[in-house]
């Protein structure tokens, strides 16, 4: 294994374990609902339902735990603290000593995430079952730790993707993978039960495979892998449906470069789409069976809250730029700063643990400088960019595919109650690989000395921010 990658994997593994242990139970985004989903799937073989049902949102076991450790009232409430009194533990133990029948399997829904496709939850049933003989808090801890291989895979795929782009030069590979490994928001999400970490893993793999496909052409194995990973994306999270657009765009680039087409090539391409169709079809079928009107298919097919093209463009402008005088407000003042800077830079717990404001100001400034440098580097190295057009196209179109899905979805959310654009920083985690590649590209374009210093500064800053996030979490929950 390359030694720089080894160092990064050690650092990221330790950060992930620290987040798993230090983040108070069920305080990750919607973690209580995700746990309920996994438990019901593990105990009954079927996921919980979304919407109006006769059952309970969570199992009796989970409800008792949340009550005795004060976990539900803690979510997002900065003045709340988890229960740590031994008398509370004893009360929970007393419940476990004589539990009612089906106390683990009665959380059949309504579960607010019941419409999600099942891939991540199925994965999490493995640690759940391995530790089924333990109390639920212990099972949750091991379910969180089960995210570790996914996180390490993301870092490895970032390393490999950078290897494709930068001809396996260690310096940009280290900067790209390090920017991903040490991104505080990603490490945090690897320490809580949430399907976003699987979606980020799948997209990291997709980026790498897409770059490989550009290099080797439409080989059967690479087309099959791309189709399989795209299908898994759809099965991971409703936002993973963006893989549909991504696969079309990537294959368009790869096949365009491989003209003239052979019958075998067309067959394997159809196979790739077949695998995607299996994933999308499975996700839609599952979601429809469990989600009712809120299923993926229901939302896509819904005619309410569709808005208009003009309204969408206005929303998009106002998301990234100050509104023009002729524009009417599109939802709350929520845009680039909140999602890209504060969200992706690091907002922990259920969005209530934040860095001091000046940190976000500094991150925003750094991001702006970085974007300017990126543009300058692109202009200066335009000939090389054109020479690597296939790679560049792939690196650009995949984020655009995901962002298009996110923005369209957020715009539709704005058209009806509660008029809330459902778009947070963690939704951008599938795009960490191109983020790392962009940072590495800027560093490698600045020359060896300046680029090395800048790359080291980025990794150092992310390390300090990671420790700061952990420290804020300790102060939030345990003092």
């Amino acid at each position: 294994m390359p030694r720089p990658l080894l160092g990064l994997l050690v650092a990221s593994a330790l950060l992930s374990v620290a987040w798993s242990v230090l983040m108070a139970p069920l305080q990750g985004p919607d973690e209580h609902n995700h746990l309920g989903y996994v438990q019901h799937l593990a105990e009954t073989g079927a996921g919980p339902d979304f919407g109006e049902t006769e059952g309970f949102s969570w199992s009796t076991e989970q409800v008792q735990w949340m009550q005795w450790q004060n976990l539900l009232g803690l979510i997002g409430v900065v003045d709340g603290r988890p229960g740590w009194n031994p008398a509370e533990q004893e009360a929970f133990d007393a419940f476990l000593a004589d539990p009612p029948a089906n106390f683990r399997s009665d959380g059949s829904g309504p579960n607010p995430v019941g419409q999600n496709p099942p891939a991540y939850y199925a994965y999490e049933t493995i640690p759940y079952w391995l530790f089924r003989w333990t109390e639920l808090p212990t099972r949750l801890l091991f379910m969180r730790l089960a995210n570790l291989p996914l996180f390490l895979a993301i870092v490895t795929f970032a390393w490999l993707a950078a290897g494709e782009v930068f001809k396996r030069r260690r310096r940009p590979q280290t900067i790209a993978a390090g920017s991903v490994a040490l991104l505080p928001q990603l490490a945090f999400m690897s320490g809580v039960v949430n399907p976003d970490i699987l979606l980020a893993t799948v997209w990291a793999a997709f980026f790498y495979l897409a770059l490989v496909a550009v290099r080797v052409g439409p080989k059967p194995w690479v087309l099959a892998a791309l189709g399989g990973v795209a299908g898994l994306s759809a099965l991971s999270q409703p936002r993973g449906i963006a893989a549909l657009v991504a696969l079309v765009l990537v294959l368009a680039v790869v096949l365009w470069r491989a003209r003239p087409w052979t019958r075998r090539m067309v067959a394997w391409t159809a196979g790739a789409f077949g695998l995607l169709a299996v994933g999308v079809g499975g996700a839609l079928a599952y979601s429809s069976a469990h989600g009712g009107a809120a299923s993926i298919g229901g939302e896509v097919g819904s005619s309410t809250g569709a808005g208009s093209i003009k309204g969408f463009l206005s929303y998009l402008w106002q998301f990234y730029l100050p509104p023009l005088r002729t524009m009417s407000p599109q939802g709350p003042p929520y845009g680039y700063r909140q999602v890209y800077v504060e969200g992706l830079g690091g907002t922990f717990g259920s969005l209530e643990i934040t860095y001091p404001l000046w940190v976000y100001d500094a991150l925003q400034l750094a991001a702006a400088v970085g974007l300017i440098l990126l543009v300058v580097c692109i202009v200066r190295r335009w000939e090389r960019i054109v020479a690597h057009g296939g790679q560049v196209l792939v690196v650009c179109v995949l984020p655009l595919a995901m962002l298009a899905v996110l923005h369209i979805s957020a715009y539709r959310d704005l058209q009806g109650p509660p008029y809330d654009p459902l778009l947070t920083g963690r939704y951008l985690l599938p795009l960490v690989v191109p983020m790392g590649l962009a940072i590495a590209f800027v560093c490698s374009s600045l020359g060896r000395r300046a680029g090395s210093w800048l790359g080291a500064l980025v990794l150092t800053t992310f390390t300090v921010l990671s420790f700061t996030g952990l420290a804020l979490t300790v102060a939030r929950f345990y003092t």
Partner: protein, 230 residues
């Protein structure tokens, strides 16, 4: 420079991390913070639901965790004009009864704290607030869906929808550096026996040393050294 002396880059990066630890880490560790021992019902997130106690009436909150560290009970006054009446706070659990007084004269939207004798042991008990003045008392409660907990608030024995905002603390501000054992014990609550003070201490040391070590190693071998070839 970095190619000829590859140790410079990781050394500077390490120094920056050290400076950050000294400039932000040490003050963070030694900063005094209110020490909550339990938060039966935190203050409302957005909407206060008033709990009005007529003279002589008593509001009680059940299933409150009391610990030997608990010295102070804090309730919150709702928005009102003028000043509020005297309140008597009674914390009780099997074999324990602690009484505190909140003098009259407080205003609206204030934290009202009183000192109580420490419970002798960890226990689940209740806290009652009686209006012992001549005017109605208006306290903060919450009926928000997100403030869901196990406690029930009653007024003169009758359950009400709102829950009385209630915070318990040691009554003194202490830093994290003053009480590492306590913090570790809180982190390990409800976790498997393997996650105890010793293992958490080891984890902290490993993370504090291992993460920077891994990053600096990567910077040294991946960025500073002139070994671009794979």
């Amino acid at each position: 420079m970095t190619a000829r002396r590859p140790w410079i880059l990781p050394a500077v990066a390490g120094a920056l991390m050290l400076v950050a630890a000294l400039v932000w880490g040490i003050p963070w560790l030694t900063k005094d913070r209110p020490d909550r021992t339990s938060t039966p019902t935190p203050p409302p997130f957005a909407t206060i639901t008033p709990i009005v106690l007529q003279p002589g009436e008593e509001a009680c909150e059940s299933l409150v965790a009391l610990s030997p560290d608990t010295r102070q009970v804090t309730i919150l006054s709702d928005r009102f004009e003028g000043t509020g009446p005297r309140l008597r706070v009674v914390a009780s659990a099997p074999g324990y009864r602690g009484v505190g007084e909140i003098p009259a004269g407080y205003h609206g939207l204030e934290g009202l704290s009183t000192t109580i004798p420490a419970p002798p042991r960890d226990a689940i008990g209740q806290i009652c607030v009686r209006n012992v003045g001549d005017e109605p008392a208006q306290l903060q409660g919450t009926a928000e869906g997100r403030i869901q907990n196990r406690s029930v608030t009653t007024v003169d024995g009758e359950p009400i929808e709102a829950k009385m905002s209630l915070l318990l603390s040691e009554g003194v501000n202490r830093s994290i550096a003053d009480r590492p054992g306590e913090i570790l014990a809180r982190i390990s609550a409800f976790k498997p026996p393997i996650v105890g003070s010793v293992s958490l201490s080891i984890l902290f040391v490993v993370v504090l040393l291992g993460v920077p070590a891994g990053v600096l190693y990567a910077i040294w071998r991946g960025i500073a050294r002139d070994d671009d070839a794979a």
